[in-house]
């Protein structure tokens, strides 16, 4: 709670900056409109106009909040216009993709650290796999999976897994290798087997690295879920709303979907942060 005042201050400062930026970015269009209507705009009229355009370059905070309110609180949860419904669609794909990505990432990391062949052969390709732009091949993956009969949630989760396993692999490999030689020697003096060294030394010391990576992986998983929604017809989910807004030039709709998606991701990341604090405290590795 001692974070409350600083956070509020920063948020307040950001909102002030946001209003200012809205005036700055929406002014050209306001002048354009006024010119075509043949009227002159006073400063107050200009500011009022920039904060209430239908398709602004940067919507004002109150416009976005009103839109979010309209589409979450004022709509039934089951309505297709409800952002809560769309959030759930994205969330389900994200959670499944995140779970799959974490499992895959940890499994690969363990394999890489313990198997020389895998370390030398697989690690470079894991890195290369991330350089393949997922947005380019997501449609192909969906088409191929649909042709095999896998539809609905799983293809989106697979794309989400593809994006989220990489931070976990990188972080865990680093973490599993982080105990220094003194500690490894200590384990050897206690006649510890490889498995015991793993469970009692390597895995615990990799926890800070793991949680940092999990936070990044969660954000990546949400991006993956959103990317996965696009080739499946963009009918449901926050990605679909983003795209629909972008398609019709409804910037307010884009921003409201964007903020809800960010809120979703931030909540999930915060939950991981909470788990991190609890676990690390119990392990005596508090930071």
């Amino acid at each position: 709670m001692r974070n409350l005042l600083p956070v509020l201050t920063v948020v307040a400062a950001l909102i002030v900056l946001w209003y200012g930026a809205a005036v700055w970015l929406n002014t050209p269009w306001a002048y354009d409109k006024a010119q075509r209507a043949g009227v002159e705009l006073s400063t107050t009229e200009l500011i009022k106009d920039t904060w209430s355009q239908k398709k602004p370059k940067l919507p004002a905070p109150h416009q976005v909040t009103r839109e979010i309110w309209k589409t979450t609180v004022e709509k039934k949860i089951t309505s297709k216009r409800s952002l809560i419904y769309h959030s759930w669609v994205t969330l389900s794909a994200t959670l499944l993709g995140f779970a799959l990505g974490t499992v895959l990432g940890i499994a690969l990391a363990v394999g890489i650290v313990f198997n020389r062949t895998m370390d030398m052969s697989v690690m470079p390709w894991v890195i290369t796999s991330q350089t393949i732009p997922i947005l380019a091949i997501a449609p192909m993956i969906i088409v191929v999976l649909n042709a095999v009969g896998i539809q609905g949630l799983l293809p989106k989760a697979i794309i989400s897994m593809y994006l989220s396993f990489f931070p976990v692999v990188v972080g865990m490999v680093k973490g599993l290798r982080s105990p220094d030689h003194m500690q490894l020697d200590q384990m050897r003096t206690w006649h510890a087997s490889a498995a015991q060294t793993f469970w009692r030394l390597r895995l615990p010391s990799s926890m800070p690295y793991l949680f940092t990576s999990l936070k990044i992986a969660m954000a990546a998983a949400i991006v993956g879920a959103i990317v996965g929604e696009l080739p499946t017809g963009a009918v449901a989910g926050l990605g679909a709303r983003l795209l629909a807004g972008s398609y019709y030039g409804q910037t307010i709709q884009i921003w409201s979907a964007l903020l809800v998606a960010a809120a979703l991701a931030a909540t999930l990341v915060a939950i991981i942060g909470l788990i991190q604090r609890i676990v690390l405290n119990r392990m005596g590795m508090a930071q």
Binding site: K54, H86, L230, Y247
Partner: protein, 329 residues
């Protein structure tokens, strides 16, 4: 279907418990998201025209990341809505697509320009930035530029081409002098944003003589070789055309049906009703059968692309009257 998909699909089907349907299943892949552009099919679905013909039709919406031709190739749909230039180009690439019906008689494509960017005729295009969507819709534009003798590489004696997104912001924000619009969609976004028809100079592809056939129904060649599939397609086309003519006569009701089927919840009533009316102008005059003269005009327009033609030789077997003959008699 290829060996691979047959093999895996059989395994997948066997693993799934499936109910026996009394009606025949058919999947239609749309070219874009759910909107009045595809009103006829949604009307046929909602009003039971497909059911009357004993068909259980699934309509899959398209979108920016979905290439209908690819979905057809992958077996994700039995029939797809596509524009003829894209279908002919796909055919040349090795995908044997065949046109079985042509509900859209006229082209709705046009280039919308701002008068204050100095555009009053096609001579003013030189040195300006023009927006095009790509993803299959660039072929008519490239043919037109070739006909006008304008290079698309930019520079002082050509035009700079911009790959526009899916809205008309480049025009509104003055990043481009002209953007590609459809008469039924993006043009109205420009009007909604505040520009008036007096501020705009529009060039309809029909008037410029570079129009190509747009929304048509396409299947893969081997679907036509299968008599059971052929029969399904005949019934499908018959019901779809019934849906289209109903939509033409009752645009507002059709718009409502489209809205109900819109899973994204992003469409508005006003917008769809206006779109339906404009679409009705494009489907008017067609009973669904492809007119060969129109087909030839499209092929010629595509072949005359100068140094970079859309297709390099006249396609063979790219269309058939076999379905529409049976469906419309």
């Amino acid at each position: 279907m290829t060996q691979f998909t047959k093999w895996i699909s059989a395994a997948a089907l066997g693993a799934m418990a499936s109910m026996a349907h009394a009606a025949d299943d058919l999947t239609l892949q749309l070219k874009w998201v759910t909107q009045a552009q595809f009103g006829g099919y949604y009307v046929a679905l909602d009003k039971g025209f497909y059911e009357e013909e004993g068909l259980n039709v699934t309509i899959k919406p398209g979108g920016p990341d979905i290439a209908p031709t690819q979905v057809l190739a992958g077996g994700g749909a039995d029939v797809t809505v596509e524009w003829m230039p894209a279908a002919l180009a796909a055919r040349e690439k090795g995908l044997p697509m065949v046109n079985i019906a042509q509900p859209f008689k006229s082209s709705g494509m046009m280039l919308t320009c701002r008068k204050d960017a100095g555009i009053s005729s096609t001579d003013d295009f030189v040195g300006k930035t023009l927006g095009v969507w790509f993803f299959g819709n660039e072929f008519p534009f490239l043919s037109w530029m070739s006909k006008l003798g304008l290079s698309t590489e930019g520079g002082d004696d050509g035009v700079t081409v911009l790959k526009q997104g899916f809205n008309v912001d480049p025009l509104l924000q003055k990043q481009a002098a002209c953007v590609s619009t459809m008469t039924y969609n993006e043009y109205w976004q420009v009007i909604d944003a505040g520009l008036t028809p007096d501020d705009l100079m529009v060039f309809k592809y029909e008037d410029q003589g570079v129009a190509t056939l747009e929304d048509g129904l396409y299947v893969l060649e081997d679907a036509l070789a299968d008599p059971a599939m052929e029969d399904k397609l005949v019934r499908f086309v018959r019901a779809s055309m019934k849906g289209w003519k109903y939509a033409e006569a009752n645009p507002d009701e059709a718009a409502d049906i489209v809205l109900e089927n819109d899973a994204s919840g992003a469409q508005t009533e006003e917008y769809q009703q206006r779109m339906m009316r404009e679409i009705a102008k494009l489907t008017a005059g067609s009973n669904g059968a492809l007119v060969e003269a129109d087909y030839q005009r499209t092929v010629e327009s595509l072949l005359s692309g100068g140094s970079d033609p859309v297709i390099t030789k006249a396609p063979e077997g790219a269309w058939t009257h076999a379905i529409t003959d049976q469906a419309l008699n």
